[in-house]
């Protein structure tokens, strides 16, 4: 991206654009035992997260819904990062991810530890977009806590 768009290239990194166009695990897995609905009333974005949790570990994960490039890419990359992880690892990753997108200096320094998710570091320069990046994660948290019938809202 050219310099004209400046910080935009930090927000819309290639990996994020690629995931938003071709999201991974964009499906409802055949076997699921946890599920939650996420909703951002500000922009109307919706996100359903489906989990198959076995022995405290995420055996399978998928998502569906409609949203902006940031929210779709975030959901897609989240599902990739969490497959096979324990509930505790997932919670820890969410915390680190949240710190990253809200511009926590420590998290920014250690961004590389987050692997591909480090691409979301640019979101911290766009405070209005933090909710887009975290919608899937909030929904995941709700699904893991077993709040089946509750729509989690970013508001």
């Amino acid at each position: 991206m050219s310099a004209e768009l400046g910080e935009l290239s930090d927000l819309y990194q290639e990996v994020i654009l690629e995931h938003s166009k071709a999201p991974r695990n964009f499906r409802k897995p055949e076997a699921t035992n946890r599920h939650a609905e996420g909703y951002n009333p500000l922009c109307g974005d919706r996100c359903s997260v489906y989990l198959d949790v076995e022995n405290g570990a995420i055996k399978d994960i998928g998502f569906q819904g409609s949203g902006c490039a940031i929210s779709r890419a975030s959901a897609s990359m989240m599902t990739q990062a969490l497959k096979g992880k324990s509930k505790e690892e997932a919670a820890k990753l969410f915390e680190e991810f949240h710190n990253l997108v809200t511009g926590d200096p420590e998290a920014m320094k250690n961004a590389a530890d987050l692997g591909k998710l480090a691409a979301f570091g640019g979101v911290s320069k766009f405070p209005a977009r933090v909710k887009c990046a975290t919608l899937a994660w909030h929904t995941l948290q709700s699904a893991l806590e077993g709040k089946e019938d509750e729509t989690v809202s970013t508001e």
């Binding site: 991206m1 050219s2 004209e4 768009l5 400046g6 910080e7 935009l8 290239s9 930090d10 927000l11 819309y12 990194q13 290639e14 990996v15 654009l17 938003s20 166009k21 500000l42 922009c43 109307g44 974005d45 919706r46 409609s66 949203g67 902006c68 490039a69 940031i70 691409a119 640019g122 766009f126 209005a128 977009r129 887009c132």
Partner: protein
């Protein structure tokens, strides 16, 4: 950090050029009246196209607020001291200005409120609670803002009444025959917008009011999006209530107007209780004050009312007919140029529209478009525009909305078009 593969180069945006078009308006002078238009956002000159959310304020309005606090500030209607007299006179003068602006018959018909939302809630909670009972109906349209839906839902829920919704077609136009059929024996009030905030549709208000009045049903008009764009004459419309917000018509936030026909207002119970709205209070009995004070409990936003008066004087000075013509010219130009961008679908293509261009862009979510435009200093609204039922009607979660004001130019529309094209390239 990894860069996106396709370089995006925005064409030169000639925002500094002298504004063209605009029949009879000195746009350069008008733009100079609005200090905030000199702001730079992300290094770019601000292009403010979110006027349906709130308009910017001319210097005369900012000065009116400062002048009030520097020279007049005192509580109204109570002091014998000079400042209180000055403040009361200025507040009364603002009410006269509003009366003139919407051509009400009487200043007593002008109630100052916080905004259109409070105006509608006031009518729902006073006229509505008195006249709407179990099994009765309130009729609205499918293109109302949440502020003209929820107050009626609250009322209907409390009373066991039903909310009826007149449908719209795919262009965003009201189905007038359906509307007429929905006015029934149980309809106690009709509440309709004059201009849709999400679609820009101008409703056939005179005909609608005639239809309702034939059946003896009063009509409340949500004029929040109409007042900035066209001359409004409440007597010619013959509407029973008319609500609008000051901040969308170049005035400050926190002040708005409810117009009501005097006979209706006289017969309505008060809204809130407190000081100013009473003539006498004992623990046994309170006598309510006369209009308009009956509906203005507590110390009002005195500076806000005075500044709203300054805003209305300002646009009256330019001329509402000229402002309307300029708005129509910009909207037509934007409809043509934005509509010509590949992948753009306009949402709301009614034959008569004002102020608002709502659209979706294939492959680019409105939120992403909003961020990309913001980097170019271009402010638009993205989302459901507090009109979720409208979004549902068109099966979309959100739209991007550009909305215009007296100070906008064709060059700014060109900047918008450039920004949308750039966004398409990012997401190609």
């Amino acid at each position: 950090m990894t860069a996106v593969a396709h370089p995006v180069v925005l064409g030169p945006l000639s925002r500094e050029a002298s504004p063209k078009s605009a029949p009879g308006l000195d746009l350069a002078k008008i733009r100079g009246d609005f200090p905030i238009l000199a702001e730079h956002i992300n290094g770019k000159r601000l292009v403010y196209l979110d006027n349906a959310a709130t308009s910017q304020k001319p210097r005369v309005v900012l000065n009116a607020i400062a002048h009030y606090y520097e020279h007049l500030n005192a509580n109204i209607h109570r002091g014998v001291h000079t400042l209180s007299v000055r403040a009361t006179e200025a507040h009364d003068a603002a009410r006269k200005t509003v009366k003139r602006f919407i051509n009400a018959a009487d200043t007593r018909e002008i109630i100052f409120v916080r905004g259109a939302t409070e105006a509608i809630n006031l009518v729902a909670q006073t006229y509505g609670r008195k006249h709407v009972g179990a099994g009765d109906e309130v009729l609205i349209t499918a293109m109302e803002h949440h502020s003209n839906i929820v107050p009626w839902q609250i009322l209907c829920e409390e009373k066991g009444a039903h909310l009826r919704v007149a449908p719209i077609n795919d262009r965003g136009e009201l189905l007038l025959d359906q509307f007429e059929k929905l006015i029934g024996l149980r309809t106690k009030i009709v509440a309709v917008t004059q201009v849709s905030n999400a679609l820009g549709t101008i409703t056939p208000l005179s005909t609608m009011i005639e239809m309702a009045h034939k059946r003896g049903v009063p009509v409340l008009v949500d004029g929040a999006q109409a007042v900035p764009h066209m001359p409004v004459d409440v007597q010619a419309l013959d509407c029973d209530f008319y609500a609008f917000s000051g901040h969308k018509v170049y005035g400050p936030t926190g002040i708005g107007v409810l117009y009501g026909k005097r006979a209706l207002l006289e017969a309505m119970p008060p809204y809130q209780g407190g000081g100013d709205m009473i003539s006498s209070v004992t623990f046994e009995k309170t006598t309510y004050n006369v209009l308009p004070y009956k509906f203005e409990a507590g110390t009002p936003d005195i500076a806000g009312a005075i500044a709203l008066g300054a805003a209305l004087d300002y646009i009256s000075g330019i001329g509402m007919d000229k402002i309307a013509a300029h708005g129509q010219d910009l909207l037509a130009y934007a409809t043509e140029t934005v509509g010509a961008i590949p992948g753009v679908q306009l949402i709301g293509t009614a034959s008569e529209r004002a102020g608002v261009l709502s659209f979706v862009l294939d492959g680019v979510h409105p939120h992403d478009l909003g961020t990309i435009l913001d980097r170019e200093g271009i402010a638009i609204r993205t989302g459901h525009h507090c009109a979720q039922p409208v979004m549902e009607r068109f099966h979309i979660p959100a739209t991007a909305r550009a909305s215009f004001a007296v100070y906008n130019t064709r060059e700014e529309v060109d900047a918008l078009v450039g920004g949308i094209r750039a966004a398409r390239e990012v997401f190609q």
